[in-house]
């Protein structure tokens, strides 16, 4: 899901940076206003956690790979804005230090993985938790949140790939950047993520919530103080 350099044309990557910049600003403000100073290390642990989760590449049928992100679990713990900051840091480190994801695509990757994913997943979780307030229900809600969040991010990533041939095709019909049209990109990305990676994300999220709630670290999942979740 990490878009490399050269796949997005300048209009797309500049637009994604432009959308991401104010969101980073809001995230910083929300964290500053609502993150209790004792929970500061949690943001650091979250960034390291998502970095590590993304190292676990899973082989997929058809010869490609994918990985979970852990973004919805992080959002449940530090709120979606806190998740945006910590996952963005992991993505920036991946791009700068390890060449995983492009430099020009940092805005796009942060938008998909650090914004769309935690928000889609977190609000799915919140919505479902109202109906599923039992112990098991919470775990289920978290799992479904993980599944929805990851697939939402896969979808927006696929759309970014897929619009490139529409935006940039030379007169001889050759693509200038990502070569596959929307239908192919969405189909390929969603098939993989809806069947395999989304399930893994759901399991990771659900199991982590299950074990954390029973452990001494259950406070990690305490809903952050009122107002911080928005």
């Amino acid at each position: 899901m990490h878009i490399p350099d050269g796949y997005l044309g300048p209009p797309t990557y500049i637009a994604t940076y432009a959308v991401c910049a104010p969101l980073w600003g809001v995230a910083a403000r929300k964290v500053r206003e609502s993150l209790h100073s004792r929970r500061v290390p949690l943001l650091a642990i979250s960034a390291a956690f998502s970095f590590l989760v993304m190292m676990f590449n899973v082989p997929l049928p058809g010869g490609s790979t994918g990985h979970a992100v852990g973004g919805v679990l992080i959002a449940i713990s530090v709120g979606p804005w806190g998740a945006m900051l910590s996952i963005s840091i992991a993505l920036v480190i991946q791009a700068l230090l390890f060449g995983d994801g492009g430099i020009t695509a940092i805005g796009a990757n942060c938008l998909n993985i650090a914004f769309v994913m935690p928000f889609a997943g977190y609000y799915t979780y919140r919505l479902l938790s109202r109906a599923l307030s039992s112990e098991r229900g919470r775990v289920l809600a978290a799992g479904i949140g993980g599944y929805v969040g990851l697939n939402a991010a896969a979808f927006t990533t696929a759309v970014m790939f897929g619009i490139q041939p529409l935006l940039h095709t030379s007169p001889d019909g050759r693509a200038l950047y990502a070569p596959y049209p929307l239908s192919v990109a969405v189909h390929a990305m969603m098939l993989q993520h809806m069947i395999v990676i989304g399930t893994i994300e759901a399991l990771v999220t659900g199991l982590a919530v299950h074990y954390l709630r029973r452990s001494r670290s259950a406070w990690v999942l305490d809903p952050p103080e009122s107002g911080s979740s928005r």
């Binding site: 899973v58 480190i93 990305m189």
Partner: protein, 118 residues
């Protein structure tokens, strides 16, 4: 920091297990993720190298490309695992350190948002 000990141990265990994420795709002969192919692979798949992609590829040389020091991509399989493992720990330090500094900086200056301009 006592309350964070369990979580830090969990991160350490994850880092130790990280080479699974390197070896499993190798064993199953899986390649790049969808949309993360190198330019040569793209050329093989679509029959040409997209011009913009060719020009824009690698505007930045990452010091540890693909979680191995550059030039060591063809190292022996155990060495690759070691590189991956060390990258995992380096990632913990870099991400954890970066996020910690940012979060501390943000939370220190201003519980009341009154000191902000606008």
């Amino acid at each position: 920091m006592k309350e964070y000990r369990g979580l830090l141990v969990a991160l350490g265990v994850m880092a130790l297990l990280a080479p699974i994420g390197l070896y499993l795709p190798q064993i199953m002969k899986a390649g790049a993720a969808w949309g993360e192919w190198g330019i040569l692979e793209v050329r093989k798949m679509v029959g040409y190298a997209p011009a913009g992609m060719e020009k824009a590829a690698e505007p930045w040389k990452a010091p540890i490309p693909d979680y191995a020091p550059s030039g060591r991509e063809n190292a022996s399989i155990p060495e690759q695992g070691l590189h991956y493992l060390l990258s995992a720990f380096l990632g913990i330090v870099a991400c954890g350190g970066g996020a910690y500094l940012l979060a501390r900086w943000l939370t220190r200056r201003g519980s009341p948002p009154a000191d902000r301009r606008q």
